[in-house]
């Protein structure tokens, strides 16, 4: 499982550039589903046919990152970035482009709060020409991926948000057997750009029940690492359907899955957007507790992930 997680984390997929990560996931799950395809905006949709309720379970596969915006005369690279990029945490980090070009993210002047306007990527090029041979405007960069074991069950690195959600969904897809429901699994794109991957997927599939799988920021609720799968009650813009909360709770208890409730008081945009096109479908979310989200030192507990996988597996 950790090997697969590493492979998912080390495959770059900034929002709008999810082609490679989509292929890795497709290869993992295609033997276990009836059909699989990419839609117009890149969402990877896998279908496990059944005669019961139509359930859509989704998780996002993109990550925060930079795009090359301009190359200066001296060979330094000006950038812009997706949403959710924490410049304070990223400054002075090693970065790597989608084509494997290595660089560092440095501030233009010391002492200023870093934003996209006052940082550079230095790839060691001596001139604009040399830089242009190695990168082009539009190329993506991310902070270099890393994964380290932290104590007995915790792992630290990036981008755990949200490749850990991808891992959970992949493992659940592999484990699900004899589920009579009509299951759609969607690995969404553009989550770090206003989340519209999930919106368009929900629109085209029109499910009865929608379940999101994603990390829960420890800083935004009472959720704790190591205390089990999170069952979301609400985020700042949407309340989950009571029927789904109750279903997840009773499934967890029946199957002796460790769980905790999560009520996000600070963030959340995705569920409200999905609800706007859900035609009244019931909505809920399963979350994986995560610390230091959107930094190079995100932390999760693998025991929580195992509980999340189990909870998805027993959904009915």
């Amino acid at each position: 499982m950790i090997n697969l997680l590493k492979r998912l984390m080390y495959t770059q997929g900034v929002s709008g550039r999810e082609g490679d990560i989509s292929k890795v996931i497709e290869k993992e799950i295609s033997p276990f589903v009836s059909e699989i395809w990419n839609d117009k905006i890149g969402n990877l949709i896998a279908h496990k046919k059944g005669n019961g309720k139509r359930i859509l379970i989704y998780t996002n596969m993109d990550e925060c990152g930079f795009f090359v915006n301009h190359i200066d005369e001296n060979g330094l690279i000006r950038v812009c970035s997706t949403r959710g990029l924490n410049y304070d945490a990223a400054i002075y980090s090693d970065v790597v482009s989608e084509n494997g070009v290595c660089g560092i993210l440095i501030p233009e002047t010391l002492g200023e709060k870093p934003t996209y306007e006052n940082v550079f990527i230095d790839i060691g090029a001596k001139s604009k020409k040399e830089a242009q041979r190695r990168v082009s405007v539009m190329d993506s960069f991310t902070c270099v991926p890393r994964l380290k074991k932290l104590g007995a069950t915790k792992y630290s690195g990036r981008p755990l948000n949200n490749r850990i959600g991808c891992l959970a969904l992949i493992e659940a897809i592999k484990a699900i057997k004899d589920n009579e429901n009509d299951l759609y699994f969607v690995f969404t794109t553009h989550a770090q750009a206003e989340n519209y991957g999930s919106k368009t997927a929900v629109y085209s599939i029109a499910p009865d029940i929608i379940i999101s799988v994603s990390i829960a920021k420890r800083e935004c609720s009472d959720i704790k690492l190591g205390m089990g799968a999170g069952i979301k009650i609400k985020d700042i813009r949407a309340a989950c359907s009571l029927s789904v909360i109750e279903m997840l709770r009773s499934l967890a208890e029946e199957n002796k899955i460790k769980y905790q409730y999560e009520a996000d008081e600070i963030s959340g945009y995705d569920l409200s957007l999905v609800r706007s096109v859900a035609h009244g479908a019931e909505i809920g979310a399963i979350s994986i507790p995560c610390e230091n989200s959107h930094t190079t030192a995100e932390v999760i507990d693998i025991d929580d992930v195992k509980n999340v996988i189990k909870l998805i597996e027993v959904l009915k």
């Binding site: 929002s15 709008g16 550039r17 839609d39 117009k40 905006i41 969402n43 795009f67 915006n69 301009h70 200066d72 005369e73 000006r78 812009c80 997706t82 996209y116 405007v137 539009m138 553009h190 750009a193 206003e194 519209y196 919106k199 368009t200 997927a201 629109y203 085209s204």
Partner: protein, 341 residues
Amino acid sequence: MKKLLKRLCSAFGPTGNEKRVAAVIKDIIGSENVFEDKMGNIVARIASEGKPKLFLSAHMDEVGFMVTEITDSGMIGFGAVGGFDPIVLLSKRVISERGVLGAITSKPIHLMSDEEKKTRTEIDDMYIDIGARSREEALELVSIGDYFCFFSDLVELGGDFIKAKAIDDRGGCAILCSVYNELKDKADRLEYDLYFAFTIREETGKSGVNYISERYNPDYAIVVEGTTANDLYNTPEHKKIARTGCGPAMSFMDGATIYDRAFTKEIMSRCDKEEIKYQIKGFTFAGTDAASYQRGADGAKVAIFSLPVRYIHSQASVVKLEDIESTRKAIIASVSKKEIK
């Protein structure tokens, strides 16, 4: 093209009051295969059943003003419809939907306190003077809720430039009208089932295009827009956004959209092959109608051509005719079958 631009830019059409622009467009492109919906969007189609559905899209509305107050002395208070830098408004001539002329005024500098001189005059402190001497006289000509827009002729400047109001986005409308008329009998040459959308209300929340994208659910969309050309003064290279004379600007990302890379690159390679000028637009926080196409219904692959316009959202927007011609050619190259030159 100059004639088209003159007709379209001169038309009165602030956001929410686009009827006269729509009438001009219908006059230019005719009524066959042209459909106006109940909101006021216009959609024309060059039909090729079975091919992927591509929308070319430009918005008809322009930034303008709405009357919010009429003072006892007959001055007209107004609110902005769309985004303005207040500084571009002072002393400008404006015209109402009923043809009433006026000028935008504020407290003259010799009456300002030292403190007031240091701060910018905001829209709340500006009035439109229509020459009325009392509230009663003003009410005969203007009502609360009336629209005003800039009163500014299209004139040719030197160096292939023109000046007009509303180039954002009548420039786009003019290009689409011209492309439609050129291609309407040539459906067999097109790679797509081609639609032309002239949308309303872009400048305040994009409600026109939101409806279009949900209703028609296209596979592809190319938005044709005006953008800021910051190519003057000592602007650092990376903040120029777009430059006049370098062709339409294609974005890889803006504040609301990460554009489809494969689709954008395909268009670029076609432009390269036919030696049509284009440029890559620098990042800005602003968004465009492309966002609505990308996330409307079950999504679409999107790209954009932005016309580099100096002093955008002012009564004296300036655009280079060569850029308009490059954009027209780039659109035709993008939608035509590959093997046809």
